[in-house]
Structures are given as C-alpha cells and as structure tokens.
C-alpha cells in the first residue's frame, strides 16, 4: 500500500479528525519504523506541527507532550530534575542519539510496545495518559485496553512526588532492546515496582510492591518472579527471565530503600 498523502495538522483535534474515520490513516510520531510498517497505510498524519512537544510542570506533575523526544527526556533540565532522572536514564542507551532525536513519548506509549523501557518507567511512576477524545486515564488501564478506539495521545502526566527511583535492565549489546527491564519508585506512601519486556508489556508487580513497602528487597524479588508471567523470545527464554527478574527487582528495590 503506497502512501498517497502526507498531512501536518496544526492541533491534536485536527489530527483526530483525520484518523478517527479513516482506517488507512496512520499517525506518525517518530517515524522510526517507517520502512517496516506491516500494516500498510495510505495517509500519513505527522504530528510534528500539532504543538505537542511541550514540557511543563503543573500542579505537582510533569506534563510531557506526546511529541517530546527521548533525547529531550535526557537533556531537558526540568525532566532531569524529576524523579531522579529516571526518564532519561531508562532511554539513554536506546540505539543512538539519532533515533532518540525522533522517537517520541506518545509514539511509544500509544504503541503499547512490550519492549519499551519508557513504558515500564512510566508505569512505576504512576503516570496517566491524556487522549484527545478519551480524556485522562491511568497508564495501567490504557495498556490493558484490548480494543482501543482510534484516538490521539496528547500528553503523559507524571506525578513528581517520587523520592528515590531505580532502573535496572539487561541487554545483549548496550544499545539493544532489553531482555528484561525493571523500574522501582519510592513515592513516599508506597513503593511501585514495574517489570517489562517479559517479553510481555510492562506490569506492576504488586506482591513485590508489598514486600518493598515492608522493607524486604529480597522478598520483593522473589515475589515478582513468582507473580509475573514470562515468555520465550529471540533474546531469552522465559526461564531465564524469571531467574533474573528476582535479581533485578531485588537490586532496584534495594536502591530505592537505601
């Protein structure tokens, strides 16, 4: 299916109007996998002019526009100051600066990619997504949505109450997709633990969170390994993931509890 039209709407509302009724229209965020698009599309709707690249802090939350790039997460002072720099840290090894200059927060979250480090971190941080039509909802709910309606993700809202944050992942070469990734966040009242690239999409490990709240890092690791499900893929077996999950969660929780 050859792309026949390329559009640059000036707002999220305009973009929504373009994709809502048209199955053959696709939103372009980063565009990183243009040549590999398995689902063909005829109309490319590029969000680069839609005013979605803002970073602001408002009401105790960091609001990231959907078109904020990974590189911006690493370099923006406001983002770096938030949550112990977790957001920058979880993306800083992905492929290279070139790719991180085009891959976007919105493109990643909307894609619900199982491998995405950012999704794991946002889940641990207790982030919400804001959709143009669907409004604001917790990321966990957004990820679980099996039949999502066509919509435009405009913003991700990250609470800034996090005190200590830890990131652990395991890759083959440094710049590769993770074999497993873990984010642990101490929010004061609770410790949130998320595990992604299982190879399934990021999930909160609630048993691990309980153990962490009780100060038991080792117990948190064991709980996470027991409560989550893992699978085989190109990069690792389910068995291996289960084994290292315990270690990575223990180390992440140890770091936030220290």
């Amino acid at each position: 299916m050859a792309v026949k039209a390329y559009l640059r709407p000036k707002s999220a509302a305009e973009a929504l109007a373009l994709v809502e009724g048209d199955e053959r229209a696709a939103l372009i965020g980063g565009g990183a996998y243009l040549r590999l698009a398995t689902r063909g599309y005829e109309t490319a709707v590029d969000l680069c002019d839609a005013g979605l690249d803002q970073v602001r802090v408002e009401d105790g939350a960091l609001r990231l526009g959907a078109m904020v790039t990974y590189r911006r997460l690493e370099t923006d002072i406001v983002v770096r100051d938030c949550c112990g720099g977790l957001l920058g840290r979880c993306v800083e090894n992905i492929v290279g600066v070139q790719v991180r200059n085009i891959v976007t927060v919105g493109g990643t979250v909307a894609g619900r990619y199982a491998f995405a480090n950012l999704t794991t971190a946002l889940l641990a941080l207790g982030a919400d997504v804001v959709l143009e039509r669907g409004g604001r909802k917790p990321l966990e709910q957004f990820l679980a949505d099996k039949a999502p309606a066509r919509d435009v993700l405009v913003e991700v809202v990250v609470p800034t109450a996090a005190r200590r944050c830890a990131w652990r992942d395991l890759t083959r070469v440094r710049t590769d997709f993770a074999v497993l990734n873990v984010a642990a966040v101490d929010l004061g009242g609770e410790v949130r633990v998320a595990v992604g690239a299982r190879p399934g999409v990021a999930r909160l490990a609630r048993g691990a969170m309980q153990a962490a709240a009780a100060g038991d890092a080792h117990g948190a690791g064991e709980a996470a390994a027991a409560e989550l499900d893992f699978g085989d893929d190109l990069r690792a077996s389910a068995d291996y993931r289960r084994r290292v999950c315990g270690t990575l969660v223990t180390r992440a929780v140890e770091e936030v509890l220290a």
Partner: protein, 150 residues
C-alpha cells in the same frame, strides 16, 4: 508533493513522494554521501542534521523536511577535511561507508557537548556503527579532532 527546504545552506525545492524517506529523497537529488546501511535506523550511515539535530534520514519522512534545514557532510567541508585528516592519521578509516554519517554525528556532538571524555564520546556516537575498525582508533582520531578544534 512539493517541499521547500534549505539543503547545506542553499534553498531547494523538491518534488517528493508522501511516503518517501528523507534518505531516498536526498540520494535522488544527488546527495550521495548519505548511505543506506540497514532497514531499521540501526546503523547511523544515514545520519543528517535536521535543523541542526542529528537524525536517521532513513526514518524521517521526506515531507517533514519542508521548511527545515538539512545538513549533510557536503555542507560540512571544513569539518570533514579536519576529521578526515585525524582519521587518516590514526589509520582509523577503512571502507569509509560509516564515515560521512560519523562526521555529521561528530559535528553535532561537538556543538552539543563541551569537552566530552572518551565515555561521553562513545555514548554519543553509539548509534554510528563501524564493522571494519573496532572503534578504538576512531575514538583516538575523534579526540584529536576535538582537541585541535579547541
């Protein structure tokens, strides 16, 4: 569709396909320094500056360059000569296929980072693969280039 851009400091008007990658549009218009080394934005040989920002041109839609400035190694002749001399002096240049993208990335790095150490250099350039040289001599050459530029 028509787009207007600034290419290496000069205005240009191109007719591009809506679904065309910037890399292909560039090569079609005779900018042959940008290379296609892979299908997945993984290798760095297609690196260009888009409004001064290093991006993989294979993954940027050509129409996105409308109203923007694109810089390739053809537009960085002094830096190419100087970095090229450093690479040659260290024996770091081999097949040359990664070199133009590397020049663009190094220039971007020199504008973004102040006095990067070896770890920072390797981190910034992690997206520029090289299969011939094993990186160590390239890193030496890049450090020399940055030093001489100061």
């Amino acid at each position: 569709m028509n787009i207007s851009l600034e290419l290496n400091g000069r205005p240009a008007t191109w007719d591009v396909e809506p679904g065309e990658a910037l890399l292909d549009a560039l090569r079609r218009h005779g900018v042959l320094s940008v290379k296609r080394g892979c299908d997945t934005a993984s290798c760095g040989t297609c690196t260009v500056l888009l409004d001064g920002v290093p991006v993989p041109s294979c993954a940027v839609p050509a129409p996105r360059a409308d109203g923007r400035a694109v810089t390739t190694v053809e537009g960085l002749p002094d830096e190419a000569v100087r970095l090229g001399a450093c690479l040659a002096a260290e024996g770091a240049d081999q097949c040359g296929f990664c070199a133009p993208g590397l020049v663009v990335a190094v220039v971007a790095m020199s504008r973004e980072l102040e006095d990067p150490d070896e770890a920072a250099i390797n981190h910034y350039l992690a997206g520029n693969l090289c299969r011939c040289g094993g990186y160590v001599s390239q890193t030496r050459a890049i450090r020399r280039y940055l030093q001489e530029a100061r």
